[in-house]
């Protein structure tokens, strides 16, 4: 039976047929109950209603002409509806048939989980403020202020939920305790099948408001249309996650020229392949289902002339920045924890190997050691001035390696001087 315009309690959907005057109104009454069981956007429900209405009208007409119903309209309507199968089951089947194909989502979610796992297991702790990756933010003219953080009454507030409240009551309670204004687009939510009076079966005693909101959101979320909330500028917003995300999309550009060149040089690949590797890394680890290239509609990126332009919600930008920060940016000496510069080790710094070179009189290996030392010195010259310890140390290593090579080469040639390179 129907209890009130927004609250639905049904014993048997076919009960609605008993009170209807004719076949048309009986079909419409049943369709009214049936379509409310489907958690789908109203536009889709409306189409399903129209399609089934036409089916039922034709079927009733045929049944009335058949021997079984023999002109009994009421029996014909009931039979036609019963042929559709159990009402709730049918509604569920329509829901499944009208939601995005899960196969691709599942594949991408697997990648996302793997990515999150890899990040969680990483040795380096994630610090969004860390890193010297040059990032430029696009800001429209006039946009100067950042969103204000929510007040302590919200971030530190606590709430108790009895477990039998309607969604709108809980959100009002949250807003009151957190001293925030509440903004909910109920029309948008109702299109997604979430009503104001959706029951929330979450019982909590004195927990942080943010934790309670997460649990309430999860309990009323639909997998096809996940919900979310935001607290900012004295407001708490509750709505469709995708729509909240879409509003937070920002355009950033990251300087990845050195990273691309280093990957290309160190791994003997083209810069084009190196750029593609970076893009693949990001689209497979940072919320894969949201990238346009993966079939999503929230984020996209383009790499042009050594700059990576990423248009995505702030949440995704933070992850993108962290991943890019983990990639090599240049061959400059690494800064150690004490702020000093770690000299880059070369073969001649390793005593055992130096002895091997000397004892074997291995000219090709000595040549390589010298080339490495020269390459290292060349790079250090780009970053350090003569007279600094790093510069002087690298210069000496280069000179030593050169002297060692010339000595070995002279010995190999019977003291005839260094071979030409």
């Amino acid at each position: 039976m129907i209890d009130g315009p927004d609250h639905l309690v049904i014993d048997d959907p076919l009960d609605v047929l008993a009170t209807q005057a004719d076949a048309g109104s009986a079909i419409d009454a049943w369709l009214g109950v049936f379509t409310r069981l489907m958690h789908l956007p109203e536009s889709v429900r409306s189409e399903i209603r129209a399609e089934l209405r036409e089916h039922l009208r034709e079927r009733v007409r045929d049944l009335l002409l058949s021997a079984g119903c023999a002109g009994d309209e009421r029996t014909a309507v009931r039979t036609a509806i019963e042929e559709l199968g159990e009402t709730a089951h049918l509604a569920h089947r329509f829901e499944q048939a009208n939601r995005p194909n899960r196969r691709r989502l599942l594949m991408n979610l697997t990648l996302a989980v793997a990515g999150v796992g890899a990040i969680a297991a990483g040795v380096i702790a994630f610090n969004p403020n860390h890193g010297a990756l040059p990032v430029t933010r696009f800001a429209p003219v006039g946009e100067t202020s950042q969103a204000a953080a929510p007040p302590k009454s919200f971030t530190q507030g606590r709430i108790t939920l009895k477990g039998d409240n309607a969604l709108n009551e809980i959100l009002a309670q949250v807003a009151e305790i957190g001293q925030l204004n509440l903004l909910v687009n109920w029309r948008e939510l109702e299109d997604a099948g979430v009503t104001r009076d959706a029951p929330v079966q979450v019982a909590l005693r004195d927990v942080p408001i943010t934790q309670a909101l997460d649990l309430v959101t999860a309990s009323v979320s639909d997998r096809a249309n996940p919900l979310d909330w935001r607290a900012h500028d004295g407001l708490i917003e509750f709505g469709i996650k995708h729509n909240l995300d879409a509003r937070e999309v920002e355009l950033l550009s990251y300087d990845v020229a050195r990273t691309v060149n280093l990957i290309a040089n160190n791994f003997n690949t083209s810069t084009k392949d190196a750029a593609e590797q970076i893009c693949d890394l990001l689209t497979s680890l940072v919320e894969p289902i949201n990238w346009i290239d993966n079939g999503g509609d929230l984020a996209q990126m383009r790499l042009v002339g050594g700059r990576l332009f990423v248009q995505a919600p702030t949440r995704m930008q933070t992850k993108v920045a962290w991943i890019l920060d983990q990639l090599p940016k240049d061959d400059a000496p690494q800064v150690n924890a004490a702020g000093g510069v770690e000299p880059v080790p070369v073969l001649s710094d390793i005593p055992l190997l130096s002895q091997v070179f000397a004892s074997r009189g291995d000219s090709p290996s000595a040549l390589k050691a010298m080339n490495d030392a020269e390459a290292e010195f060349k790079q250090i010259k780009e970053h350090f001035q003569p007279g600094t310890p790093v510069y002087d140390s690298a210069e000496k290593r280069c000179q030593d390696a050169k002297a060692a090579y010339e000595q070995i080469a002279r010995r190999a040639a019977g003291g005839a001087g260094a071979p030409s390179r």
């Binding site: 189409e47 399903i48 129209a50 399609e51 089934l52 209405r53 036409e54 089916h55 009208r57 034709e58 079927r59 042929e83 559709l84 199968g85 089951h89 049918l90 089947r93 329509f94 499944q96 048939a97 009208n98 939601r99 995005p100 194909n101």
Partner: protein, 125 residues
């Protein structure tokens, strides 16, 4: 062994898992709407296969969602009335190019399966 195990499978049981193949095949011949599809399937199978609306409509929506079918709405005119009956609409389905490709794949797979099963069967039971 129970008596049930010796029973021949019904056409409905044999039909399980092939509903999409039947549906795509029927729509390959001509565009149809839901109720007409149930009649067409029943007629072609001599009444042996009854595509129930509870299976048919969700399947049509699924195939449409996957891009195998295309649909369009037609305003229905009652046969005994020249006026267009208000609010009556009929949804017609037709095969898309992707649907035709899928049908070809399903037919090939079905024939291969038939051939494989055939190879196990004795000449005379």
């Amino acid at each position: 062994m129970s008596d049930d195990a010796l029973k021949s499978p019904s056409p409905a049981e044999l039909f399980k898992g092939s509903a999409d193949l039947v549906l795509l095949s029927v729509l390959a011949e001509a565009p149809l709407y839901g109720y007409a599809i149930t009649k067409q399937v029943a007629a072609k199978s001599g009444g042996a296969i009854r595509l129930t609306p509870g299976v048919l409509y969700p399947l049509l929506h699924e195939l449409e969602r996957d891009g195998l079918l295309l649909s369009s709405w037609e305003t229905v005119q009652a046969p005994d009335n020249d006026d267009v009956e208000r609010g009556r609409k009929r949804k017609w389905y037709r095969l898309s190019a992707k649907g035709r490709k899928r049908l070809a794949q399903r037919i090939a797979a079905h024939r291969a399966q038939q051939k494989m099963i055939e190879s196990f069967l004795p000449d005379r039971a």
